[in-house]
Structure formats: C-alpha cells, structure tokens
C-alpha cells in the first residue's frame, strides 16, 4: 500500500497513525438504542429475498401485451379513419373547385387541356 511513499510521507503517516484521533469505546447504550430503533422501524421497507415476488410475472406480461395490442390497434384504426376522412374532404373540395382555375383551354379543340 505504501510502496510509492517518500521518506517524508512515511514519517508523516507514522506520526498520524501513532497519534490519530480516537473516540472512547462505544457504550452498550449505543447498541441498545440502535436495536430498539430497529425494532420500531416500519416492517415494509425490508423484503427478504426469499419472500420477494417476481413483479414481472408471465401473467402480467400477458395482460400488458393485450393492453398494448389494443392500444396499437386503436391507434392504427384512428389513423386510418383520419386518412380516409381527409381523402373524402379533399375529393369534395376538388369537386367544388372551378376546373378553369386548374386547366387551360386548348385553343385548337376548345376543350380543357388535362394532359399534364
């Protein structure tokens, strides 16, 4: 651990170690107080490993899968409905559009030129 230490480091470490601040020994009162506090702790916080339930169980996955499928299905359905509604509205708008504003009249035939 001290393989990289300089001699002055060694002296410092030795001095620190020899005179390091040390608290008086712990009293039995500390232990008694700690275990009393533990006894009064709410029980819900610690779940023994052996008693843990697998939250992501197969049954829950099935329910989640069905719910997701339903949501996706509803989403696709709504999207299709919106698209079809938009097409209908566009078609209706086209019907009401004056065709003369869209196509020029062919001077030879006198008809609308819809070749483009």
């Amino acid at each position: 651990m001290n393989e990289m230490n300089e001699p002055s480091d060694e002296k410092l470490i030795s001095f620190l170690k020899e005179h390091q601040p040390s608290p008086p020994p712990a009293s039995m009162e500390l232990e008694r107080s700690l275990f009393e506090a533990i006894a009064n702790e709410p029980k819900s916080s610690v779940v023994p490993i052996a008693k843990r339930k697998n939250v992501l169980s197969f049954g829950n996955w099935k329910v989640a899968l069905i719910a997701c499928s339903l949501l996706i299905g509803v989403g696709i359905g709504l999207n299709s409905y919106n698209l079809s509604q938009r097409e209908v509205l566009e078609a209706e708008a086209l019907d009401q559009t004056d065709i003369s504003s869209l196509y020029a009249i062919d001077p030879d035939t006198g008809l609308y030129d819809v070749s483009l």
Binding site: H19, P23, P25, A26, I38
Partner: protein, 187 residues
C-alpha cells in the same frame, strides 16, 4: 437464541439478517462498530454527534441490507454509507470545510519535539491538522493513512477513480506536511 457463529462471513450474516435473524445483524454491528465509529469521529471530529451518526449509519445499513449485492466487500459498502452519513451531517451544518474554531497558537506545542508534548496534545494536533484539509482530501488521508484501506477500496467507497484517490492523497499529505512544518513539528 444466537444461531450464528462469530467466525461466519459478513455475507452470510447479511443473508441471515435478511431472513429475519436479528442476532446476525448484532454480530455484524459488533464486528464493525469500532472502525465505523472511528471513521465517523475522524471525519467529523465531533464527539457530541458521534453516537447519533453511528446509529444512523447502522440504521441505514439495516434498512438497505436487501440492496447489498455483494459486488464489493460488506465493509466497503458499510464505509460508503458511513462516509455519506458524515457528508450529510456536514451539509446540514452548512459547512463544506470546517473552520478551526480556536487559533492554533492556543495549543501547547511550543516545543513539539520534546517530551513535554503529551499524547493528548499530539492527538489534538493531528486532529487540527486533519481539519485544515478539504473534506475530500481529509477523507482520503484518513481512509488510506489511518484506516489503512487500499486505494482501490477507497475509490469504491468514495465512488471516484483510483487516479483521483492518488491525487487527493498526494495533495492532502503535502498540505499536512506544510501545516506541521508551520507549527514547528519536523516530520
């Protein structure tokens, strides 16, 4: 009835505690309370809060025992919690860097290299010296030079790279040497 042996590994005592055996936790406590209490004292240098903080450490350990995965040693995980409790204590007190409350001149160290400087005085001197360090440097110096933890374990306790531990150790020691020198203590 105590159904665990004193020699059992910490990890086994953890499992037994999680199974509801409180005597296993009592053994864990008795095994580690000394080093934890010393660390808390050296980090805070406050005897008045020492037992409260030590109790807080072991309460947190008990509450979170199911989260101990065993990737690191139990003592490493325990020291990490103790370090965090001390950090929280410093934050609550609103002091990231504790200021020395008394002038250094008040210390009876007029002739520090001579026998008249008692053991208590020297301990006080070391305590004062450690207080001059930043909390980060102090933690590394204490864990490495006083608690004799390897640098890799200190890195795990403080959740910093090993290079950071080395750097903090270097600057912490340099600051201490300068401080001792300024006090007339030749090391």
């Amino acid at each position: 009835m105590i159904t665990v042996a004193l020699s059992e590994e910490d990890s086994i005592l953890v499992q037994r505690t999680l199974s509801g055996n409180q005597e296993a936790f009592r053994l864990l406590y008795r095994r580690h309370v000394g080093p934890v209490r010393k660390l808390v004292y050296q980090l805070t240098t406050d005897l008045q809060v020492l037992d409260d903080l030590t109790q807080d450490v072991f309460l947190k350990v008990h509450r979170n025992l199911s989260k101990f995965r065993g990737d690191a040693k139990f003592s490493t995980w325990l020291f990490r919690i103790a370090y965090n409790v001390c950090q929280d204590h410093h934050r609550r007190r609103g002091r990231n860097h504790r200021v020395v409350s008394l002038p250094v001149e008040d210390l009876p160290i007029s002739a520090p290299d001579e026998e008249i400087l008692s053991g208590v005085d020297r301990e006080e001197l070391v305590s004062r010296a450690l207080e001059t360090l930043t909390p980060d440097h102090r933690a590394v110096v204490i864990l490495h030079d006083l608690q004799e933890k390897p640098q890799e374990e200190i890195a795990q306790i403080l959740e910093v790279p090993v290079g950071t531990v080395k750097s903090r150790l270097f600057y912490g020691r340099r600051k201490l040497k300068e401080w001792f020198s300024a006090q007339g203590v030749s090391l």
